[in-house]
Symmetry: C2
Subunit: 397 residues, 2 copies
């Protein structure tokens, strides 16, 4: 019998409770799992196990029987202080807290390594989609060249509604709110901050170097119009909010809307689904697809992490290290080379004067084209003089 | 320093050699990996490490320094005898040999468990795509409900050529042979035997019970015509060769061409790519996509398994068990319930008489329709009386 605690009895935390109550995973974990405490500041007087609830974190911290703690509180504080104390006390911690991992990952991972415990966070990116584990084990023989992910279900739902139902951005956002996919204050999703934490975690894992999410240029989808998705579609592309990272001499990394060619498997990822495309030097392109959020999808990933930790109960733990460099290796986006989708009212002659021979389509009395590959700063210089209605990076995959 | 051996220096075996020579994975495996022997019956007099080649299996078997052996020989014999001897001698074995795993998996896995060593076979299904590991760890909290996979790149290439280039089956097959995707004798691929071994392995893993591939009804794509893919496409479907397994009271499992709705992510999997859709009770639908074959894709999955095994060098190994039941739990396909795509010359009246109100499309002077969900034996009884040009199961996903 291995005893664990759950911190935070919200949507995800109660999902973890429900899953473990339905099956103690004695076979999978090679040891039955029992929930000894649930920490929450709220009262649950009608809960059938109300006696296991506590408001005192120290009860969990100081109980030597507690082997693993599921942190489903979210937010930075007190999740950070609690997690740090638990790891220092030699307890394993499993989390879905992308904010905490993206902010304090290097320190928490170092403590976990020193104490020979796990700090596991599969559920922090892509909900229930296995992506952290594959990056850390199955793809271990590969050098990762590129990651491009649809990492936020809310924005993908909105963009899908715009493409498939012809809804405006604001109508699609309302629809997402009505369906419970978007918060009343949707800024974290639609401005790209959620995807930014997630691509920071994936890039840190892929290259073993901590990427501070504050160094990642982040654009959301608030400027994407129905005219954009319509013109893109006519050229054979979908518009997706992409968390992008590309390692060469340094790292190009950003969150922004990008055009995805319809033959790319990311293009067909619709609604609240997420998908992460990973390009490895040996494997080539692979993709991981599934539900990026939701109570049980996310909770099942956390339970899998608990099982993983319990399975290796007496073993040396596999650890992850994120080196913190003095100078960020993130290169300025202006130095990146991409193709760009452009909508303009200007004539073909003027377009070709600036961008050379490109295929120009006339759509809704505008001229629409995709440039050749060029440096972003050169593109921006030329775009400034053109009178551009909109411009979106194109994903080369 | 951990010493390993490679058995079989063909395409995949030499890929493993090249990858480990380029990087000994000291960091990833927490211990540098060195190749001490290569077993092959052929001579490689010009190889830069010709001194490590041997033709004598016993050299490897009897060397206590050898911790892990990569079996890249293929075929049942002598791979079976060699693998069994190595496991019994307490050595870890990594393989891409789907034939061997599908045939002798239960025995070899039991020996591995008894000896506390790994028998790992990520590369046996989906080449470099992480699917075995996710099924065994990341998805561990889920009960798997359904697996549907495009498991053979050759047949998927042929079907893609038929759909996208309008090629006949035989022209598409020739094209696959010219490109090196199909063998001169393509039976194992086009008749579905390769996919059959792979779905047997996935089903055995998902439900912990050995599924004998000989119990799996297997149809290939040799009867699929251009008219089928064309009519299917007009109804909004792609035709794919699917390895299918669906657990209810018993197990429905087969390999056959199936119609996949274009909104299903499997539908966009084209060319030699593979993808496996997994439906879990908590996670919902997830999909794993990538190159299902190829020297370095496959070899990189084997190297990841070697790393995994080395990483847990002194630990209790996680094991897999496939229980062998006296009576196969595979249910007769005739009892399965599906929708069916039908092409016929008969009139709408006659169709509705048999199948009730269905939407009938007139395509190339035939009537084409998809039935409601019905038991396969009932469908077959009715189809017999209709005069059917072709009939294909529809994937409900």
């Amino acid at each position: 019998m291995v005893k664990i605690a759950i911190m935070g009895y919200g949507t995800v935390g109660s999902g973890v409770y429900d899953i473990i109550k339905a099956d103690n995973f004695a076979y999978e974990a090679m040891n039955p799992i029992e929930i000894k405490y649930i920490l929450d500041i709220r009262d649950f007087p009608d809960h059938k196990e109300k006696e296991i609830f506590t408001k005192d974190f120290n009860v969990i911290l100081n109980d030597d029987e507690i082997y693993c703690v599921v942190e489903a509180m979210g937010g930075l504080n007190p999740a950070y202080e609690f997690t740090k104390s638990l790891l220092l006390a030699g307890k394993n911690v499993v989390t879905s807290n992308k904010e905490l991992v993206a902010t304090h990952g290097p320190e928490l991972l170092r403590i976990a390594k020193d104490k020979n415990v796990n700090y596991l966070f599969e559920a922090s990116v892509g909900g229930g989609i296995p992506i952290i584990k594959p990056l850390c084990s199955s793809l271990k023989a590969n050098k990762i060249k590129k990651i491009a992910g649809i990492l936020n279900g809310t924005t993908n739902f909105i963009l899908t509604e715009m493409v498939e139902e012809g809804k405006s951005f604001s109508d699609a956002l309302k629809m997402a709110q009505v369906n419970g996919y978007a918060e009343r204050n949707p800024a974290a999703d639609i401005e790209g901050h959620d995807a930014c934490r997630k691509i920071a975690i994936l890039a840190s894992l892929a290259w073993g170097e901590y990427i501070d999410y504050k160094d990642i240029p982040t654009d959301g989808i608030t400027n994407i119009t129905l005219e954009d998705v319509d013109a893109a579609s006519k050229l054979g592309y979908s518009v997706k909010l992409i968390g992008y990272a590309d390692k060469r001499d340094g790292l190009f990394i950003w969150v922004s809307p990008m055009l995805v060619r319809k033959s790319c498997p990311l293009s067909g990822v619709n609604g609240v689904f997420n998908a992460i495309l990973v390009d490895g030097n040996y494997l080539g392109t692979s993709m991981f697809y599934g539900q990026g959020a939701g109570k049980f999808a996310t909770a099942s990933a956390m339970v899998a992490d608990v099982i993983e930790s319990v399975r290796h109960i007496n073993a040396k733990k596999a650890y992850i290290e994120w080196q913190v460099t003095e100078k960020s290796s993130v290169l300025p986006v202006s130095e990146s080379e991409n193709r760009y989708f452009v909508r303009t009212k200007e004539k073909q002659d003027r377009i070709e004067e600036l961008f050379g021979k490109v295929s120009v389509s006339s759509i809704n009395s505008e001229n629409v084209f995709v440039t050749d590959v060029m440096k972003e700063k050169d593109f921006e210089d030329k775009a400034k003089t053109l009178g551009v209605i909109s411009k979106i990076r194109v994903l080369d995959a």
